[in-house]
Amino acid sequence: MTATWWLRDSWEMVKRNLIHIRRTPELLLDVTLSPIMFVLIFSLVMGGAIQIPGFEGYTNYLMAGIFVQTIAFAGVYTSVLLANDLKNGMIDRFRSLPMNQSSVLFGRTVTDLFRALLAVAIMWIVGMLVGFRPEGGVLANAAAIGLMLLFGFALSWVGIAAGALVRTPEALQGIIFAVVFPLTFVSSAFVRPADMPDWLGWFAERQPMSLVIDAVRDLTITGEPGPSFVPALLASVIPLVVFVPLGIWLYNRRTTQ
């Protein structure tokens, strides 16, 4: 019974967020236009100059990196959207209702999962136009997409915790740029960590984003889970287990002071 209400309230929140997207399509630019530009710029501009041993064409190496980078940004961007609601008083309205309070957060993160899915679909198509050949087979490709979305969902919950902690949406934008941007580059997204200075490469190879990127790359190109698959799964599930309760707790603390 409680679970039914929870689902219903969460769905109402998703509906609200989807209406927002429909009325203000510019909210989707970060998951539509920017990934298209990233795919095109990296594949067409850098592609000629970067050779990755074992990969025919840079685009095949690149795509997993672009997918996960975009999803990571979309995931943590959840914090900005939550902070906006906290700022404009909408959260106080929800607080005054007899609804399931965590539904506000699930509605937010599930909507952002849709945003991530849209981003993947667009990048997939654009990528194929410029040389992406995901020949791993339907099942492996589906697993790759599932893994990316799981990772993005986990990062959305990191975003919820951040949004509940930080005062303003503007401050969050700054933090996201300062933290996530370097992490996406110090990874296996665009070049091999082996080609970086030793100490940097050591970190780049082992950080969660690289684990997910490597697993996605293996699944889409070769169709095999590869050695990074299980670590990648853990890199998604562990933050989820930590940040769902933590995010809810921080949000409750922030909104009941």
């Binding site: 309205r93 607080r95 005054s96 209702l97 007899p98």
Partner: protein
Amino acid sequence: MTMTSRPMIQAVGLHKSFGETHALRGLDLSVAEGTILSVLGPNGAGKTTAVRILTTLTRPDAGEATVAGIDVLRHPDQARRRIGVAGQYASLDEVLSGSENLRMLGRLYRLDARTARERADALIERFELTDAADRPVRTYSGGMRRRLDLAAALMSEPPVIFLDEPTTGLDPKGRLSMWDLIGQLAKGGTTILMTTQYLEEADRLADDIAVIDHGRVIARGTANELKRLVGGERLEVVIDNPRYLPEARRALEAISTASARVDEGAKRVSVPVASHEGVLTHAIRELDAAGVHVDDIGFRRPTLDEVFLTVTGRPAEEAPDPAEMTS
């Protein structure tokens, strides 16, 4: 205080601090069923904090609060089912249309889809928002927004509603229309707690008024009771030439037992009077004898502004105490 039935809203000894700032220091409030309590006070007096506690949005450091018999601290969810909230404590979604907002709230109040839609439609019609029902709320005028706010508070047909400065920023026409709607609700049996900065609003709508300052209720009663606190009726004279204010003052003090109050800028002198009998003739004779030319003369009952001045020692519109800005 007129307390005929059990209170529908009750706060006892509420304390709340934000860091060094004491927003509430032992606030008590109670509102009888079907009546309107108006909470008056300058910015930062603690009005908003008090209402946020009663509507489950903030937890007090100490004290108790019940709404419709439900302990809001122990059973916030049950309390939420019985209250409607409008105003700055809880905004509406700017991107959704008026009708989408109401239906969403209805669903979150756990109404089934059909009831939510029917109630939303009925409220939109009743509050004259039909033409704007499908437009995003951000396109609404101030008056339309307040009416939608009120409609939102009524979606669950709650026995108790909280209104936060329901007419702030409205033009006179919008204000009258809100007053009318609020009055109708109280007649229908809804218990209402409203905050306001407008003394006229409290005077007009409220059964009871609580004046709050520095986180405490400093005066409480009906508008008339509060006015009596300040003193009775006054005879007020406006003269044409401020040079004659001292003469006017002497003339009026001759007919009263108390000293006169002089407002130089308004060229006005007033004294308290015990009754009307013979007072006007007497006053005019005295003023005439003193050579004072009178522009206007008449009896005036005290305003709530004067009440506020008397109980707080400062005017209602004065800038808030900087140490009290948080609420």
